[in-house]
Amino acid sequence: AMAEVHVIGQIMGATGFSESSLFCKWGIHTGAAWKLLSGVREGQTQVDTPQIGDMAYWSHPIDLHFATKGLQGWPRLHLQVWSQDSFGRCQLAGYGFCHVPSSPGTHQLDCPTWRPLGSWREQLARAFVGGGPQLLHGDAIYSGADRYRLHTAAGGTVHLELGLLLRHFDRYGVEC
């Protein structure tokens, strides 16, 4: 039997973003040795406008069941935080990623985010009318290959609670 990993948890919410009315698009990227047995690989939360404090809450469930033949390409959760204004227009607030934890049990994770900075003209425009540059290809969020091209600024932090359940890892000599 192959080794199995269950990722069961939630994207709790986000803090530290200057924008309100936030939602989060998320996805899971894995290497070739991994196979998703159950669950959806990507999703999108609702838009939340917090009434108490400044933390936007999504409580978005994540329930994934993987089978794997190797440790390479351990799952990475990648996130895009967007804000939506009253006219329904969306503006990017930040990109972030975090590896799914590798030890079993419950983990509280804080994922910092960043957003691309454009030219000073674009930054000025963003301050007045919104918008701003976005990545053409989402894989720069979880991959380091082309990062050297980017100039970015910090966004807020996404808070996750992920539970990890491992199965049959000891059969393959893996110590977690």
């Binding site: 269950h6 069961i8 948890g9 939630q10 709790m12 919410g13 803090t15 530290g16 939602f23 047995l37 159950s38 669950g39 959806v40 999703g43 999108q44 609702q46 838009v47 939340d48 406008t49 917090p50 009434q51 108490i52 404090g53 400044d54 933390m55 936007a56 809450y57 409580s59 978005h60 469930p61 994540i62 329930d63 069941h65 939506q84 009253s86 329904g88 969306c90 934890p101 030890s103 079993p104 049990g105 419950t106 983990h107 509280q108 994770l109 804080d110 910092p112 932090t157 808070h159 609670e161 539970g163 990890l164 359940l165 491992l166 199965r167 049959h168 890892f169 000891d170 059969r171 977690c176």
Partner: protein, 209 residues
Amino acid sequence: MVKETALPAAAQRGEGRGSPELGHWPSLSSSQGLEEGISQITSKSQDARRALVWNFPIDVTFKSTNPYGCDTAVCENICFRHKKTIPMFVPESVSKLQKFTRWDQVGPPQSDGWMPGTRQHTDAGAGPSLEGWPRPSVPLSPPQPLLPVRGAGPANAALLSSVTRVRSQGFVTLLFNVVTKDMRKLGYDTGPPDTQGVSGPSTPQGLPR
């Protein structure tokens, strides 16, 4: 114990009804005990705490062959006591006119009415703002209590789409104990008893403790 710990000034009427419900678990073969329930109506205490207390018992046993689709509790440690603070949402209408007109539709909670804290799918511009306690006459699509545990599956993913706008405005506190049986025998590793990995700041801002 199910106790509500915070409510915004807008909902000062101080009545609350909790409806604990557990999500859909495909491989569930049997369960004992109540999987869902409705609490009493509680009012805020007169003291400085302004607390809403239900003290609602939860005692349920599940049997399954696969953790997929279960509640988060499976990953919690064996024989451990857990306290969870769950944020509650209210769908928000997009139209300002609907937000203005809804105040005369607010009424006392009905036994078959929509429960606050459940999520509804609202199309942009459709439906009233559900901030208060709507009477049954409010034209909603059939209430579907989509608690956050129900997330997996393409059908639910479509429901929780970008057109759903909500306001988070309060928390419910849950306290429960978990016991598991035969997980190690089936090859599952749930982690050592005191595993609670933390990275970054210890508590998200705004989360009451």
